[in-house]
């Protein structure tokens, strides 16, 4: 049985829905990411799960118990905020101990658990500092320790890394993931950054306009996008209208067609291609971008521009702008997708 079950949650402000028909569940120890563009309702959903905001309809179960009407502080849920939400008048140590103090944990036990938490987030030596004396990354570690020290049943994180700069963000997210694995914490992580979601999660819930569009592993979301929104949001995909698909590939489709840049090949003389690599067309290189081990070409086929990723092998020559090439398509990777469903309700 799933550890957290969200069953038909619905929330509206002044008659306009923030989200509706939200169904999903988390297994114990799972790290799930709630991914979606800004304003799609992620924070509101998280706050509803935490009990900080009232839902209008639907139910919430933790470990089989209905907690829909349970007050926030009795749900055993901890939350980390984008703004850190540390208490500026308290030292690192006092911040971390706050939850234990509220739960009237005996002082000796408090001090032991705070020490463990400080150790876990690698903040040794900073215990007596105030939040104003810490960097953003350190603040977020304190916030994490403060949430973990009370041993929550579920950890919610609302864009915890978004306010940090790239290098610290990457560092901290790996650390977060390893702590989560070590403690076996059931975690729901909110982000609008698809790269963060794809690299971190056991599973991704993709949200748009107050609806969960797709629920699957990073691999599934990347290779089997549910609709045109997912294709656009995950990025880099070639998305062709039915008409363009006919023009380029010669296929008849009622829907839009999505093609990943790495599933398009440049024909090389004398090389044998498998049966499913077909649809030869000629195109002209517009320009290219070096992305480390990959070169991303923009190639114009009739009047359609395609992104094509080729491995950057030093032996292989670079195709200059204007070069005329023959392209082949991996038909297994051609996806027909529905237009995004933008209506809420």
């Amino acid at each position: 049985m799933s550890f957290l079950r969200v069953d038909g949650l619905e929330k509206k402000y002044d008659d306009s829905f923030v989200f509706s028909h939200i169904h999903f569940s988390l297994e114990k120890g799972e790290f799930v990411t709630l991914l979606g563009p800004s304003g799609c309702g992620k924070s509101t959903l998280l706050r509803c799960i935490a009990g900080l905001t009232q839902v209008d309809d639907g139910q919430l179960f933790i470990d089989g118990v209905n907690v829909t009407d349970t007050p926030a502080r009795q749900r055993g849920i901890a939350m980390v905020f984008q703004s850190y939400a540390l208490f500026p008048n308290m030292t690192v140590r006092e911040n971390i101990a706050f939850g234990l103090k509220m739960q009237k944990v005996p002082p000796s036990e408090q001090s032991k658990r705070v020490n463990e938490a400080v150790e876990l987030v690698e903040l040794g030596g900073k215990e007596q500092r105030y939040p104003s004396e810490l960097s953003g990354g350190q603040c977020q570690r304190v916030a994490l320790a403060r949430s973990l020290v009370v041993r929550p049943r579920i950890l919610l994180l609302d864009e915890p890394l978004s306010a940090l700069d790239a290098r610290i963000r990457k560092n901290l997210r790996e650390q977060l993931r390893s702590i989560q694995k070590e403690l076996g914490l059931t975690t729901l992580f909110v982000t609008h950054d698809q790269e963060e979601a794809l690299t971190l999660s056991d599973r991704i819930l993709l949200m748009n306009n107050g609806k969960i569009i797709q629920n699957g592993t990073a691999e599934e979301i990347y290779t089997e996008p549910a609709d045109a929104f997912v294709v656009r949001f995950i990025g880099n995909y070639n998305l062709l209208s039915a008409e363009q698909a006919h023009q380029v590939l010669g296929i008849q489709s009622q829907k839009q067609v999505a093609i990943r840049p790495e599933s398009i090949y440049v024909r090389e003389e004398g090389r044998q291609y498998p049966e499913h690599v077909r649809h030869p067309v000629r195109g002209e290189v517009v320009d290219y971008l070096l992305l480390g081990n990959v070169i991303r070409y923009r190639i114009k086929v009739s009047n359609v521009e395609l992104l094509v990723d080729l491995l950057n092998r030093s032996s292989e020559r670079l195709f200059p702008a204007g070069a005329n090439l023959e392209l082949l398509f991996n038909t297994h990777e051609i996806r027909e997708v529905d237009e995004e469903n933008s209506a809420i309700g």
Binding site: A72, I77, A78, F81, A85, F87, P88, N89
Partner: protein, 260 residues
């Protein structure tokens, strides 16, 4: 970057200091001179004005009255304003513009006008507050309100109130507990600014004190006014003493604030 013109900058500061401090020094000098009428400097130095001032029971009483009524009004203001500001900011943020408007109302009516109104209302047979310190307490609340509310509201706007309280709730604190352990300690700056501003404003207040209460509960300003027929040296001694007492209280409050 251009090299700062230090001479120019310094002279601005010196002029400013002179404008601020010279009158005070003049008053101080006048209060310790035997007489000062003909020359550039006083004729002689004496402490007799101070001895007669501090021997005057009425002055000590007035000073005490001033401090008491000011502190009372401040206490009343804080007890009412802090929870109100918290409730507005946390529960009803849409009321903020309305609050900004009503706290400006005391500015709309000059003290002379409103004190005449207050005299009318509170001198009837049912409620007689005029002539007692209580009406002054109320009037001073309205004087201190805009400054206190602004200082505290600015401080509160700089706190991440929503997230901080959410975090506290999830960690097991009630709103009541969170208010005292998290919100209040973080309002220290606002509270200090509001206390200093309001205190120095109220202790120098004359119009309300004179019209509403007069000699029945004499404050320092009213005492000073009533002593206007005595020597100017004596009045200067009152002003200097009053100034020193304010400085002393400010330092004490500052020390207390640092200790917290």
């Amino acid at each position: 970057m251009q090299r700062p013109n230090s001479l120019g900058h310094l002279s601005v500061i010196i002029i400013f200091m002179m404008v601020m401090i010279l009158p005070l020094l003049g008053t101080l000098l006048y209060s310790i001179s035997t007489s000062w009428s003909s020359g550039l400097l006083p004729d002689g130095i004496t402490l007799k004005w101070y001895t007669s001032l501090f021997a005057d029971h009425r002055f000590l009483q007035a000073m005490m009255n001033s401090v008491l009524v000011c502190l009372g009004a401040l206490l009343l203001t804080l007890v009412l304003v802090v929870p109100t500001a918290f409730i507005v900011f946390y529960y009803f943020p849409f009321l903020k513009p309305f609050m900004n408007f009503i706290i400006l109302l005391p500015f709309a009516v000059p003290p002379v006008v409103s004190s005449v109104g207050l005299l009318q209302i509170y001198s009837n047979d049912v409620v007689t507050l005029t002539g007692t310190p209580w009406i002054l307490l109320g009037a001073y609340f309205t004087v201190a309100l805009p400054f206190s509310y602004r200082a505290i509201a600015n401080n509160m706007a700089n706190l991440n109130l929503q997230d901080m309280l959410d975090a506290a709730h999830l960690l097991g604190a009630s709103t009541f507990r969170a208010f005292f352990t998290i919100v209040l300690p973080n309002l220290k700056t606002g509270l200090m600014v509001s206390l200093f501003l309001s205190f120095s404003l109220l202790i120098g207040e004359f119009v309300f004190a004179n019209i509403l209460v007069g000699t029945r509960f004499e404050t320092v300003q009213v005492y000073l006014f009533n002593m206007k027929t005595r020597s100017g040296h004596f009045s200067s001694a009152v002003v200097v003493s009053y100034f020193l007492i304010i400085v002393l209280m400010t330092i004490l409050a500052g020390q207390w604030g640092k200790k917290q």
